[in-house]
Symmetry: C2
Subunit: 298 residues, 2 copies
Amino acid sequence: MAAELGYVVSRTASTLASGRTLTVALITPFPGRWFFAQAIAAVESELRRNGYDALLVGLAQPADGHREVFEPETLRGRADAVVVLTVPLTGHELDGLRRLGLPTVFVGASVAGAMSVRIDDVAVGRTATEHLLQLGHTRIAHVGGDPNELLNFTARADRRAGWMAALRHSGIEPDPAYDVSGMFTAEGGRAAGERLLSLPDPPTAVFAGSDEMAYGVLAAARDRSLRVPEDLSVVGVDGHDLADLVGLTTVEQPVDRQGALAAQLALAAAGGQQARHQEHVVMPVRLVLRRTAATLGS
Amino acid sequence: MAAELGYVVSRTASTLASGRTLTVALITPFPGRWFFAQAIAAVESELRRNGYDALLVGLAQPADGHREVFEPETLRGRADAVVVLTVPLTGHELDGLRRLGLPTVFVGASVAGAMSVRIDDVAVGRTATEHLLQLGHTRIAHVGGDPNELLNFTARADRRAGWMAALRHSGIEPDPAYDVSGMFTAEGGRAAGERLLSLPDPPTAVFAGSDEMAYGVLAAARDRSLRVPEDLSVVGVDGHDLADLVGLTTVEQPVDRQGALAAQLALAAAGGQQARHQEHVVMPVRLVLRRTAATLGS
DNA sequence: CTGTTAGCGCTTTCAC
DNA sequence: GTGAAAGCGCTAACAG
């Protein structure tokens, strides 16, 4: 009553008494990279709208390789649910979460025994590649992230599989020389692009596994004074902030909606709704036509 | 002893008993934008290295204007310190933090009564503009963020002031038509660039208040078939991921180091080190020469 | 249905 | 020094 004068319940005390933390842990590598930053913003916003807090847990990956291991025990009594952004947790880590009884929802991949929100990455690769095939290209390369980067989860492999499937469906056997990997960044894309364009028989089109890699491929083309799309067509994946500005044709994914939905699933599970515990949602992607892909020589 | 088999202290209980939360609140607008995403990553990483948690508090700003108000009471007993990313808190909000006894460190601006880590934004504007002057330009425009966007704090005004000061120092009176504002984004920069380039007497050089705005200006130039840097020189601010790829000449700021230092100051203050309570750190910036700025017609 | 009481799992203080 | 006891501010279970 009179407590209107600035009383706020102590979350700490009520947590200790009830066991409910009103907090969701958000596990993410690279909080600074575009995809993760967008997803973090979306998840945090949705949690906050519902009175929950977002506990950010970054999982550093040193340049030399293996990422930091995540200690689920660390979360005991500190979160009601966990949202995992595109990190392939080990069996041990998953078991730990299960043992703590923390509902977990993955964004970017589906994992048995946990909820997930993702896109169909095979379809992504197929969509991009089919578009290039329809434009008349046959020498179509794939630029993917570093397969050793544990963080890449299934996205890289699936997008690549879609690329292969589309080519084979058109009776084209994917050329191993046209399948290159680098970092999942613009610099990685540039290096991959340079490799491809210096081949004796270079591709006329490139499907890049992310928009940032596509930017790198575009830079590599510019370095060689190749015109885009006349000499080289490029298709990316994501719907990055700058894609429109650059005129990049890309397979756009709804990052914000994936993040918001992941948060909602986490909240529902935290609220004890067992029904949704096994939910797997696949969101649609859409090909956005811009200026980097066209028929050869057009 | 035998508790080696998976015992972790309950943070909740120890918080309740001791009053120490081992958590730092990170208040930020737009967690998805480049600068903020980088800073969040740096702060979180530094906190984690020291056993502290990062509680992410997003402050949404609806498109129609005023941002969400931040309720300091909300943080009572939930954080030991606060890091504020580039949000100009109101006097009320600051008082609230002070009343709660929460040490606060600002990133991107200095505020009386709180610690801060920032760059010298006036120097940023001056450095960029002087570089363009030295290249022989005299018609130098400024593209800044939306002055109504509360979130812009002092950075926008200071960078603009540096631009003016440099011009006047060279005996050039800043032309109001050369001083345009938009969103602090690539699209905003593009709109501003279009406005500038459609002037009867367009500028030959542009100082953009952020790299993302600079990308927009570059796009506007390309739309008009202007060559960069032959017809138009552009200098940005930040050291954005893609600046190197694009060849953007820019005044680079150490975002990671600002974030890490802010976290360290917050930790020190949380640990009760009154000595640093009033610390204000200004970090150096550096002009990185690339391909978007040159002498006219070169 | 309202009022009371026993903890939640620690930290810290105070005896011993 | 080591060990017991008193809370931290709530929630939930229990009486009344």
